[in-house]
């Protein structure tokens, strides 16, 4: 198990390194940063001076090495649109996105998994019907539209809930629900089918033959097995949360990483873009690693791989 964790750690490290290289070279080889900082009136000498001061005259791999050293120290460079270090922007926005993603993730787990299980165990019951409705709707309705419609109905029409920005707990309700509906749908669907498959298996029949209580059969024997693919999905869904948070932050004017990322793209603010993309990517890679480890803990067959 320790060996397994170590391997995953090393893998995560190299994936992260590859991501940083990908982002860095993609940005630096395709767009000339200096051309955005200078105007046509600048003399070639001043442009060259600027190049030198930014270190852009050195070979690209040297630049990458310096970039890496800086990133490790938490320095992503200077944002020219905001006029402040990208890292300070990041630190300001990241917590907001994490809070939103966390509340969306919790919502996904506490609504998705139980509903999926209930709908598999009590087939054709009222749970099953609710589960089917949510999974069909959630898989099809675009997140941004769900957000806007919720905002229109609960915010503008009924006036019950705040519709934009960050604030008290009520500010989280609409954004986290719009963020997680798609994932809840996937979770319900997956838990349901996984549970149904497990309930059909020989070892569940054998657990019943043993005379075990139905509660133990479902919540111990079946759940532990059914949860394995669900966990994988939870891991994958973290990517989905990041995705969704970009859209949802735009809809609800949420001051988070996603919106920062989007503006950095449209403004071509490379320092911020690199900072946000790397942070988002790193978050994804680390979470995927944690899920893998958890997975090996639950399913003994995985440990030997």
């Amino acid at each position: 198990m320790t060996r397994f964790i170590l391997i995953r750690l090393v893998q995560a490290f190299f994936t992260l390194l590859a991501l940083s290289a990908g982002v860095f070279f993609a940005v630096h080889l395709t767009g000339d940063v200096v051309s955005f900082l200078t105007s046509p009136q600048d003399t070639p000498q001043s442009v060259a001076l600027m190049r030198q001061s930014l270190g852009l005259d050195r070979p690209i791999y040297v630049q990458y090495w310096i970039f890496l050293q800086n990133v490790v120290q938490g320095d992503f460079g200077h944002s020219w649109t905001w006029g402040r270090p990208a890292s300070s922007l990041l630190l300001e926005r990241l917590p907001n996105t994490l809070k939103l993603a966390a509340s969306g993730f919790v919502l996904t787990l506490i609504l998705g998994i139980p509903l999926g299980i209930l709908s598999a165990v009590y087939r054709d019951s009222v749970f099953d019907r609710i589960a089917k409705f949510i999974s069909v709707l959630g898989m099809a309705a675009p997140q941004f539209w769900v957000g806007i419609m919720l905002l229109l109905f609960f915010g503008a029409y009924l006036g019950w809930l705040p519709t934009f920005g960050i604030g008290g707990p009520t500010h989280y309700i609409l954004p986290s629900f719009s963020l997680s509906l798609f994932l809840i749908a996937g979770m319900v669907r997956l838990t349901r089918s996984s549970m149904m498959e497990v309930l059909d298996s020989e070892y569940i029949k054998f657990a019943r033959v043993k005379g075990l209580h139905e509660r133990a059969v479902i919540w111990k024997h079946a759940l532990r097995n059914a949860i394995i693919p669900v966990l994988t999905f939870a891991g994958i869904s973290l990517g989905g949360l990041l995705n969704g948070s970009i859209v949802v932050e735009v809809v609800f004017a949420w001051p988070g990483l996603g919106r920062l990322m989007l503006t950095s793209v449209t403004q071509r603010d490379y320092a911020v873009l690199e900072a946000t993309v790397l942070t988002a990517g790193a978050m994804y890679i680390l979470m995927a690693m944690l899920v893998d480890i958890l997975y090996a803990y639950i399913d003994p067959r995985m440990r030997e791989e």
Partner: protein, 304 residues
């Protein structure tokens, strides 16, 4: 990430081996036609396709036609504009019809490209095994989990806006799904007698993959393709909602929702209608994909 397919690699299905032939295509087609067809999704899908192809003939107005005289009409207010108009007097119905064209074009081309790349990777990875497989699958896992909108944003940033780059961005994010599933299928076929026989008689790997393995994964390919159409449309809509790629004023469903966002209270139909259309269309494709999977290959239920 750990793989499920591996554990299933030894399961040998007793189905007949398939070769690429008219007969097999006919048998798949027969299977589809014999089952009870899900008419509602098929009709919606047909409407989208017809709208996409014949948009200029079907749309009552030019979708870009600005006419201040008929601006801000609610649906039903003026029957010449059955679904209303926006703040510039553009006809909602016509814009929705042209939006089908944008959506269908981008989604299908991107999905097609993703399918070609992903299937190739899946076939090679599954057949070659060993380190080729390990490396390709690590890349696939990374690509599969990578947030799609994030990837699209990076591509649009680097290459600039435009339909071609949007297509590329979507293709880059969908290929991995094909690769994973196809590889899983290949693992099940790889060690069956007819493949081993071909190998022993010295058939080249390329020919083995093409003649003996590929025909056995076609059903799976078809199913993934259908199941992914909905997700691709959603992704395309999200990108156009965020304003990545398409020029403002273009007729795209996601863009229309975004434009209507500023007039939510005064003109609710601007955002409501295109969103409703997206939801219905995606639902139709999802239903059809599920149905196709259950009809052609119920085993796949666990993996997709």
């Amino acid at each position: 990430m750990a793989t499920f397919e591996e554990s299933g690699s030894e399961i040998v299905s007793d189905a007949e081996p398939k070769l690429l032939s008219i007969k097999n295509i006919a048998s798949t087609a027969g299977k589809i036609l014999r089952a009870r067809l899900p008419w509602a999704p098929i009709i919606i899908m047909a409407v989208v396709v017809i709208c996409a192809i014949f948009a200029p003939l079907l749309a009552p107005h030019d979708p870009t036609d600005i006419d201040i005289g008929v601006r801000k009409l609610a649906p039903g207010e003026n029957w010449s504009y059955p679904l209303g108009t926006d703040r510039l007097g553009r006809d909602m119905l016509s814009r929705l019809i042209y939006g089908a064209r944008t959506s269908a074009f981008i989604s299908l081309v991107a999905l097609g490209a993703g399918a070609v790349v992903g299937t190739t990777v899946g076939l090679v990875s599954g057949y070659a095994g060993k380190w080729t497989d390990t490396i390709l699958m690590r890349i696939t896992d990374a690509a599969m989990g990578f947030p799609t909108i994030l990837a699209a944003m990076i591509i649009v940033t680097i290459l600039g806006a435009g339909i071609a780059n949007i297509i590329l961005a979507i293709a880059v994010t969908v290929w991995a799904r094909f690769a994973r599933m196809i590889r899983g299928e290949v693992l099940q076929v790889r060690n069956r007698d007819f493949v081993l026989a071909a190998r022993i008689t010295g058939v080249s790997p390329v020919m083995i993959i093409w003649r003996h393995i590929f025909p056995n994964v076609i059903n799976t390919l078809l199913i993934i393709l259908t199941l992914l159409v909905g997700q691709t449309i959603l992704l395309e809509a999200s990108l156009s909602f965020l304003g990545l790629g398409l020029a403002p004023g273009a007729s795209a469903w996601g863009l229309m929702v975004a434009e209507g966002r500023d007039y939510l209270i005064s003109m609710w139909w601007l955002s409501l209608l295109p969103g409703l259309v997206i939801t219905m269309v995606v639902m139709a494709f999802n239903f059809f994909g599920d149905w196709l999977r259950d009809t052609l290959d119920p085993k796949l239920r666990r993996s997709i």
